[in-house]
Amino acid sequence: MKPGSVAIVGAAETTKMGVIPDMSVIQLHADAALNAMADAGLKPSDIDGVATAGESPTNIAHYLGITPTWADGTSVGGCSFMLHVRHAAAAINAGMASTILVTHGESGRSRVGAGGWGQSPASLAGQFEAPYGPSGPPSMFTIPVLRYMQDTGLTHEQLAMVAVVQREWAGMNPRATFHDPITVEDVLNSRMIAYPFHLLECCLVTDGGGALILTSADRAKDFPTKPVYIIGTGESVETPMISQMEDFTSSKAFRVSGKKALDEAGISHSDVDHLMIYDAFAHLPIYGLEDLGFVGRGEAGAFIAEGNTRPGAKLPLNTNGGGLSYMHSGMYGMYALQESVRQMRGIAPAQVPGAKISIAHGVGGMFAASGTIIMSNERP
């Protein structure tokens, strides 16, 4: 896409966050969508494009009374919303739609109106991984990490520091699930989930949602909100099975998606003021920092442990508290995008002073997919 040709003019999360037993999945989508429309001063009849994952775009359009000329149901896991933003930007530039709504809602904890877990026994993972007793992402997404530790020297204490630093950010965010500071000892003494991962190195499971509205940058000045321009986008997919990941110490999908977005934006790493890396588990910011090229291979654990991503440091990372401390409904990518928008608008609870460029980098499945969105509050 042409950098800066499309802008986010509406952005909001669900009114409540955390435990919402009185709302179903589609109600969470609708609550977030109505909040985003109110943010942008729009009504459903103003929307002509719909993208979502977890629900079908048909359900969302029908429920909200939208008649779209463009729909996208790309569903590659938690980063699907990064891909939706990318596809929406292309669609707007191609004239397929003018005002696109991207929604997410998930009753991750309360499971109201939510589908079941599990994969088909006939799928590749069902045939070649499920027979060995994995019980969801905590026992699968984590499998590459002992190899990473062996090859790079990452320590258990450095891995724990990812959770410690993100709790510092969460302490500044009133909407975060957890606020109280934690120590490395707290992390390493928390319940073992799947060695080497303890409870505090695994994401929350909560209810919530979020929505974005995109339009052309030329129209953005007509909206009441401060436009947040899309200046770079990337996406990729790698493998449906964690055991078949090409390199256990690096995500190919991360590398491809991140490079595409950075090249498109025409920026260098030193231009980036704020960074969100989808953290379903504590190793993801480590892989993300390296695969996006912010640090060299094997350096990210020390980079975080030495304090380079904490409040006031040079590379503010996961400033909402992340999936580890803010919230994680299941498909967290929407919340990373929302925090990047808040930072670019200058309204984040833990605002990075003067931030002009933000990256929201997502993972889908278990290193299965990736999407990267680079935003700026200045039109290039």
Partner: protein, 88 residues
């Protein structure tokens, strides 16, 4: 891509020790879910047998050999145990 007959030897490439057992695995927990790299190159998920399911007993790169577990009349699963005599 081509078919070939693997030797059944490999090494412990990476793993977790799962403390939250999947249905049917309650009696096993905590148990390792491992990825073995075969000497011929491919990697596959597996369980480890005839060895303690502890970090101390399971160093990365531990030499392994295949053993087949008969699950029922139709299905047998390839699992791995420490190789007799160590590295091949």
């Amino acid at each position: 891509m081509a078919w070939f007959k693997a030797s059944g030897h490999g090494r412990l490439f990476s793993y977790v020790i799962n403390h939250r057992p999947a249905p049917g695995f309650q009696d096993e927990a905590p148990y390792a879910i491992a990825v073995v790299e075969l000497d011929e190159g491919p990697r596959m998920m597996t369980n480890l047998v005839d060895v303690e399911q502890t970090p101390e007993a399971l160093p990365i790169d531990l030499p392994l050999e295949v053993t087949f577990e008969q699950v029922n009349e139709d299905i047998s699963l390839p699992k791995f145990r420490p190789a007799a005599g160590g590295a091949q």
